[in-house]
C-alpha cells in the first residue's frame, strides 16, 4: 500500500510536466489551430534558460519560476509574429512542418552553444529532502512539482472561466464555430495566446531543471509523449489535456513499477485504445475535423 501511494505520487509528479506542457499545446491549438511541434524544444529552452540564469546571474529556482515563463512568453510572441503568423491561413500541416524545422534549429543552436553533455543544476535547499506523510515518505521536490502544477492548472482554469479573455479563448478553443458566429474577434488574442502556451512549456522546463538532465535533446522524446497525451485527452479540450497529462504520468509510473520495460509502450497502447473507442479523445468534441 505504501509503495502504491509512492508510485502514485511519482506518477502525478511526472504527469505534472505533461499536464502543464499539454495545457499550453491545447490552448495554442484551440485558438490558432496549430499543433506546435516545437513544444518539446520550448520545454528544453525553459530548462536550459533556468540553468544558464543560475550559472550567470545566480538566479535561484524561485526567481526562475517567475522570470523564465516571462522570457519564454516574449520568445513565443516573437516566434508567432515572425513565423507562425504567415501560415495561419493555410492548412495547419504547414505550421506543424514549420515548427518541426524550428525544433531542429533550436536544438542545434543549444548544442552549438552549450555542448551535448548537458548543463549542471542544483535545486534550492528548501526543496531537498523528504516529507513523511503518515508513513509514506515522499521526496519534497516531487510533491512540490505536483502541487505547483495543480495550482497553475487551477489558476489557468479560473482565468478561463472568470475573465472575459479566458472565456473568449475557451469559446474559440472548444466551440470555434459558435465563437465566430457570435462575432467574437479571436484575432487579437492569437499572439498572446501563443506566447502563453510557450510560457507554459517553458514553465514545465523550469520545473524539470532540478531533477532531469538538462540537455539539448531533452525535449525530443518529451514532445512525442506530449502528442500522445493530447490525443488521449482530446486536442480541443483544455480539461482533457490536463487530465490526460496526469493520467499518462500515472500509467508511466505504474508501468515502471509492474512492467518496467513496457512503461513507455503502455502510453502508446493506451493512445491506440482511446482512438479505437473514442476517436475524439477522452474530453474531445465528437466530430473534430482538422
Amino acid at each position: 500500500m505504501n509503495a502504491v501511494l509512492q508510485y502514485a505520487v511519482q506518477g502525478l509528479a511526472a504527469g505534472s510536466f505533461y499536464a502543464l506542457a499539454a495545457l499550453g499545446l491545447a490552448v495554442i491549438f484551440g485558438v490558432l489551430g496549430v499543433v506546435n511541434f516545437a513544444h518539446g524544444a520550448f520545454y528544453m529552452l525553459g530548462a536550459v534558460t533556468t540553468a544558464v540564469l543560475l550559472d550567470t546571474l545566480d538566479l535561484t529556482l524561485w526567481w526562475s519560476l517567475l522570470v523564465v515563463p516571462v522570457l519564454m512568453f516574449v520568445f513565443g510572441v516573437a516566434v508567432e509574429r515572425l513565423l507562425v503568423r504567415w501560415l495561419l491561413r493555410l492548412d495547419p500541416l504547414y505550421n506543424f512542418l514549420l515548427t518541426f524545422g524550428l525544433t531542429l534549429v533550436l536544438v542545434e543552436l543549444v548544442k552549438q552553444r552549450y555542448g551535448v553533455s548537458g548543463l549542471p543544476y542544483r535545486a534550492p535547499e528548501a526543496l531537498q529532502g523528504r516529507v513523511d506523510l503518515a508513513g509514506v515518505v515522499l521526496p519534497r521536490y516531487q510533491l512540490f512539482v505536483f502541487l505547483f502544477s495543480v495550482a497553475i492548472c487551477v489558476l489557468v482554469w479560473l482565468v478561463m472561466t472568470r475573465t472575459r479573455v479566458g472565456m473568449i479563448v475557451r469559446a474559440s478553443t472548444e466551440k470555434p464555430e459558435l465563437a465566430r458566429a457570435l462575432g467574437i474577434n479571436v484575432g487579437r488574442w492569437v499572439t498572446p495566446v501563443f506566447g502563453f502556451g510557450v510560457a507554459l512549456a517553458g514553465l514545465a522546463g523550469v520545473l524539470a531543471a532540478p531533477f532531469r538532465a538538462i540537455t539539448a535533446d531533452m525535449g525530443n522524446n518529451f514532445a512525442i509523449i506530449l502528442f500522445a497525451v493530447v490525443v488521449i485527452g482530446g486536442l480541443g479540450s483544455i480539461v482533457g489535456a490536463v487530465v490526460a497529462g496526469f493520467l499518462v504520468g500515472l500509467v508511466e509510473a505504474f508501468g515502471q513499477a509492474y512492467a518496467p520495460t513496457f512503461a513507455q509502450i503502455l502510453i502508446f497502447v493506451l493512445m491506440a485504445l482511446i482512438i479505437l473507442v473514442r476517436p475524439a479523445g477522452l474530453f474531445g468534441r465528437k466530430e473534430a475535423t482538422a
Binding site: 542544483r122 521526496p139 538532465a213 513496457f262
Partner: protein, 414 residues
C-alpha cells in the same frame, strides 16, 4: 510502346554495364611499399551528435599530435614522409558511417580508420575493414562483439569494452564491502551486456544481485525504478544508463533519499564529460571504472597539458586512446616498412605496449583486443577539487589481465 521503353532501358543498362566493366580496372596495384606513396589515417567519428564532447573533433587533434610525435621521433628515418590525417563526421548515423568507411577505404586511400563511436556504426565499419582488408582501430565503441563473435583480422579494440567497465566496478565495489546489489539498466543490448557482466563479477566476488530492473530508453523519469530498487534495501544500486539518462538517474537518486539511507551508487559507464556537465557535487562519491584519467600520473599529466595547449580542454580517455592507437599504428608501420595491412597486423599482434594511454598494454593476438591496466575511480567531493577538470581519484589499479575477459573466454576466431 511499353515494351519499347523496356527494351531501350535494357539496352542502356547493358551499354553502361559494358562501359563500366572497361572503365574500371582492378584495384590500384601497390608498386612501392606505400600505396600512392603516402599514409592516410582517417578519423571517423561523431562531430555533431551526442558523442561530440567525449571524442569528436578533439580526437582528430589527438591523432595529429601522434603523427607529429612520430615524425619528431624518427625524422629522416621515418619509412614514410607523407602522412595525412583526415576527419569525417558520421553525424551519429550508422549508415553514413558505413558509406563513408567504404568510401575512405576505396577512394580516400585510407590505410586505417580510427575511433567510430556507437556500436552499430563501429560494427558496420569493422565489416568494411574486413572486406577491404584495411585496418580499423576502434576507440570509442564499447561492444564486446567487435572482438567477440563479429571480430575480424583487421579490427582492433583499443581502449575499453563493456566487460572491462562492468567487471572492474562490480568486482572492486563488492570486495570493498557493498555486497548486496540492485541493478537498473536500459533495456537494450549495451544495458543487457553490462548487467550480465556485472552480475558475473559480483557473484564471483562473493556478492549477490537482489534484482535487476530493465528500463525504457530514452527515459527521463526514474523515480519509480529507484523506489523499487531501494525497496530491497541493497548496499548499492548499480546503474547502466549512459549520457543524458545517466544524469537523470543520478539527479533522481540524489533526490530520492536513498543516499541518506546509506545506499551507494555505482555507475556502469561514466565519462569525465558527464561529471563536467552535471557538476562534481551531484556525482560526489560515485564509483566507476575508467580506462584512463588525465591526471593519474606525471606521464598522463604531461600529455594532458600538451593536449590542453592544442584544444583548450582536458582530454577524455577516448582522446588519449585515439592518440595511442594512431601512434602505435605508425610504430607498426615503421617496423613493417610498408602500409600493407597484413604486414602491419602482423607487427601489431602480440605487441606489448607502454605509452601515455596503455599501461602494461598488450595487443592480444587471439581476438585483437588491446588489454591494459584499468582504474576504479571515485568522483571527488567538491572540496577536494583543486583545478578545472580535477574530478577523479583513482582508488585501485586493476591489472590488465584482470581488467579484461581472458582470451580463452573469447568467442572470436580470426
Amino acid at each position: 510502346m511499353k515494351s519499347k521503353r523496356i527494351r531501350a532501358g535494357a539496352a542502356a543498362i547493358t551499354g553502361i554495364l559494358l562501359l563500366g566493366a572497361c572503365g574500371r580496372g582492378g584495384p590500384a596495384g601497390s608498386d612501392g611499399d606505400f600505396t600512392d606513396g603516402k599514409l592516410v589515417l582517417a578519423v571517423l567519428n561523431d562531430q555533431s551528435g551526442v558523442y561530440k564532447d567525449a571524442s569528436g573533433p578533439n580526437s582528430v587533434k589527438a591523432v595529429r599530435m601522434a603523427v607529429a610525435d612520430y615524425q619528431k621521433k624518427y625524422g629522416d628515418q621515418a619509412v614514410v614522409d607523407d602522412i595525412e590525417v583526415t576527419s569525417t563526421d558520421h553525424q551519429n548515423k550508422p549508415d553514413i558511417a558505413n558509406t563513408k568507411a567504404k568510401e575512405l577505404y576505396e577512394r580516400g586511400g585510407a590505410d586505417v580508420i580510427l575511433d567510430v563511436p556507437t556500436s552499430s556504426a563501429a560494427l558496420a565499419v569493422a565489416n568494411q575493414a574486413k572486406s577491404h582488408k584495411k585496418l580499423f582501430l576502434d576507440v570509442s565503441a564499447a561492444t564486446t562483439e567487435l572482438t567477440g563473435a563479429q571480430c575480424n583480422k583487421y579490427t582492433f579494440q583499443w581502449a575499453y569494452n563493456t566487460y572491462m567497465l562492468a567487471n572492474g566496478t562490480g568486482t572492486t565495489v563488492t570486495r570493498n564491502g557493498d555486497r548486496n546489489w540492485h541493478i537498473i539498466y536500459p533495456d537494450y543490448q549495451f544495458g543487457q551486456d553490462m548487467t550480465k557482466s556485472f552480475t558475473e563479477a559480483i557473484t564471483k566476488a562473493g556478492g549477490t544481485v537482489q534484482g535487476t530492473i530493465p528500463t525504457p530508453f530514452p527515459n527521463d523519469n526514474f523515480a519509480t525504478f529507484l523506489t523499487k530498487a531501494g525497496s530491497t534495501n541493497p548496499d548499492v544500486i548499480g546503474t547502466m544508463q549512459a549520457g543524458g539518462d545517466l544524469i537523470n538517474v543520478v539527479k533522481q537518486f540524489n533526490e530520492s533519499g536513498l543516499k541518506e539511507r546509506g545506499v551507494d551508487l555505482a555507475v556502469g559507464l561514466m565519462l569525465i564529460t558527464d561529471i563536467h556537465s552535471l557538476g562534481v557535487d551531484q556525482f560526489a562519491g560515485t564509483l566507476f571504472t575508467d580506462a584512463w584519467y588525465w591526471n593519474m600520473d606525471a606521464q598522463a599529466r604531461a600529455w594532458a597539458d600538451r593536449f590542453h595547449d592544442e584544444t583548450g580542454t582536458r582530454p577524455t580517455f577516448e582522446h588519449a586512446g585515439n592518440y595511442s592507437a594512431a601512434l602505435q599504428y605508425l610504430e607498426a608501420v615503421q617496423e613493417a616498412g610498408t602500409d600493407n595491412a597484413d604486414a602491419v597486423v602482423g607487427k601489431l599482434e602480440g605487441k606489448k605496449i607502454n605509452d601515455v594511454f596503455l599501461r602494461n598494454g598488450e595487443v592480444r593476438a587471439k581476438d585483437h583486443l588491446v588489454i591494459h591496466d584499468a582504474y576504479l575511480a571515485r568522483v571527488k567531493e567538491p572540496s577536494e577539487v583543486r583545478e578545472p577538470w580535477d574530478y577523479e581519484e583513482i582508488v585501485t589499479t586493476i591489472p590488465a589481465a584482470e581488467a579484461f575477459a581472458p582470451a580463452e573466454a573469447s568467442t572470436c576466431s580470426l
